[in-house]
Amino acid sequence: MHRTLILLAAATCACGKADRAPSPSGAPAATPPLAHATQADLARDVADAERLGTWSDVSRRWQGQTVRWTVTHHRALCGSADDCHVAAFPIQRPARQGWMPQLQFAAGQYDALTGLCGSQDPCEVAIEATLSKLEVSPELPTSVQLSNVQISPTHPRTQTARR
């Protein structure tokens, strides 16, 4: 009994440490859209969470957001519709964070992506998607999953991510 209580207390303490700025209980079912929802905004929030411990707040605000991002497709990292990652930021900038979003495509959109890029590798594409899963914590690396990915029919020659 004594041991059980100690274990419970320890577990409670451990959970509390995961987020020093806990989110309000009873989070709303629908996520309010963010005014700034570029990948650079997300990267900034993740960096802030690292500094401030606001992990669950970042996760709560971002999960479910519709995002319109320009990303870089590398054939070597997107071998199939079931295993496709893209670079969230242009190469040749310092990689401040390691995560590369995993894409889950809407029907026909993987084919649209490969058709759009053709032999161009790497290939910048504009996508619209739902940020369906954001894992951010002090224990494990950040990972991002984008679902219902729709490919913009044209290359985003003039678009750049705000950093």
Partner: protein, 424 residues
């Protein structure tokens, strides 16, 4: 700064001889992350994998732990932790998800607690009564798909520390008595000469000049030699013509600790809960120099199958060549517009998923001479030079000026050199 010309066996690297080269290096994965540096006994340092030089149907895997050990380290000489799981994981179908694991767990014994001595007299046998402090282990094979665990061997002695000439007239004769074969698997656990060779002066502002800084240092080694059919997908060695993802196995080593430790006033500590991975390693130098400080501990806790999702951007745009240029004016190539997809390719051979796994071809016809990094890793491979050259990517071959181990490796199991003596 030492200039170095090296011949590399790495596919795709051609380059001309170098007249002036920039040099840097670091220990493969010794004390590479802040958290694991505080838990030395479960810090894995290197993984090697090669087709056995004595039986081409066997695969040899070496997993080293507990870095940078001084031979004169008594009275409590180094060992494996009794409260950890040491594992070698094997992916045999290319998805970067481990299918098989070999798991070592250790138990320490003490014959006489009323002395401070590790051994109370000269030791001429691994069963000697003079060997006061001993350790034994259980080796299990785990089906990581089903969780089914099979004991391969149990209550097997760990080779003792090479205390010195007064304790061991013939240390290696005693140590090799720890080599055990059961159920087709040959195993050794114990101290060995540190096989990784490097100039660690890199951490003094990249000041390498060919200093053999790991000479005379020991490490704790786990070595197994297993039939290739034991690790191949569905137990079948792929045909020589097979070039698909099942023609290779991907290997990484890890160490795990129980989630909860209680320190007590009245007795030794207790451990509770499930095991949490605290260290992992496939390729040399990935966590050391590719993963930045902010993610090193997270890397050790994460799984290879998620490496691209979690750390892919670091691989596409590594820091190493920028540092080489900044500090040493190495004239490394800038990261190409498409990023370092060549490194991604090296991490995903034969159509496998990119991950920090040491991959080795296991096709029929593969022999020991084929096993050189990045197709497996032989003990003699100068991976520091290879990886620096890959990272710099300017067609020139560079390195740290340390090209071989101080002690020769052996041609018989466990292949690693005898550990350095505490009192030679």
């Amino acid at each position: 700064m030492t200039k170095l010309i090296r011949t590399l066996a790495l596919a795709g690297l051609t380059g001309t001889a170098l007249g002036a080269g920039a040099l840097t290096a670091s220990a493969s994965s010794h004390r590479e992350a802040p958290a694991i540096a505080e838990d030395q006994y479960v810090d894995n340092t290197d993984v090697y994998a090669f087709i056995s030089p004595n039986n081409p149907n066997n695969l040899v895997i070496v997993a080293d732990y507990v870095p940078l050990l001084l031979p004169t380290s008594g009275p409590n000489f180094y060992k494996f932790s009794d409260n950890a799981r040491y594992e070698v994981h094997i992916d045999n179908d290319g998805d970067a998800v481990p299918d098989i694991a070999y798991r070592w767990t250790f138990r320490s014994q003490r014959k006489n607690g009323a002395t401070f001595l590790y051994n109370t007299g000269a030791v001429d046998s691994i069963t000697s009564q003079n060997l006061n402090v001993t350790q034994t282990y259980r080796l299990e094979k785990v089906n990581e798909r089903t969780g089914q665990t099979t004991t391969i061997m149990d209550n097997i002695p760990v080779a003792p520390w090479n205390v010195g000439k007064r304790s061991f007239a013939n240390y290696e004769q005693v140590a090799l008595q720890a080599v055990t074969t059961r159920n087709g698997v040959t195993s050794f656990a114990g101290p060995r000469d540190e096989p990784f060779f490097v100039d660690l002066h890199v951490f003094d502002l990249l000041g390498v000049a060919g200093a053999h800084t790991t000479d005379g240092i020991n490490v704790m080694s786990l070595v197994i030699e297993v039939p290739i059919t034991d690790v191949a997908s569905k137990g079948v060695r792929p045909a020589a013509s097979d070039t698909g993802p099942k023609s290779v196995v991907g290997i990484y080593a890890s160490a795990s600790r129980p989630r909860v430790r209680f320190l007590r006033d009245e007795r030794d500590w207790d451990h509770y809960g499930s095991f949490v991975q605290v260290s992992r390693l496939g390729w040399p130098l990935i966590n050391e120099v590719i993963i930045p400080l902010q993610d090193k501990d997270k890397f050790n806790r994460s799984q290879p199958r998620n490496d691209v999702a979690n750390f892919g951007a670091y691989i596409l745009d590594p820091e190493v060549p920028k540092l080489l240029n900044l500090v040493l004016h190495a004239n490394c190539a800038p990261t190409p517009a498409g990023g370092r997809t060549d490194i991604v390719g090296l991490l995903s051979p034969s159509g496998t998923k990119a991950a920090d796994l040491l991959r080795i071809k296991i096709n029929q016809g593969q022999t020991n001479i084929d096993s050189h990094f990045p197709n497996g890793r032989a003990l003699t491979d100068d991976v520091t030079d290879t990886l620096l050259t890959v990272a710099c990517n300017n067609g020139q071959k560079i390195g740290d000026g340390v090209d071989a181990n101080d002690k020769p490796f052996t041609t018989t199991f466990p292949y690693l050199a005898s550990p350095n003596s505490g009192n030679p």
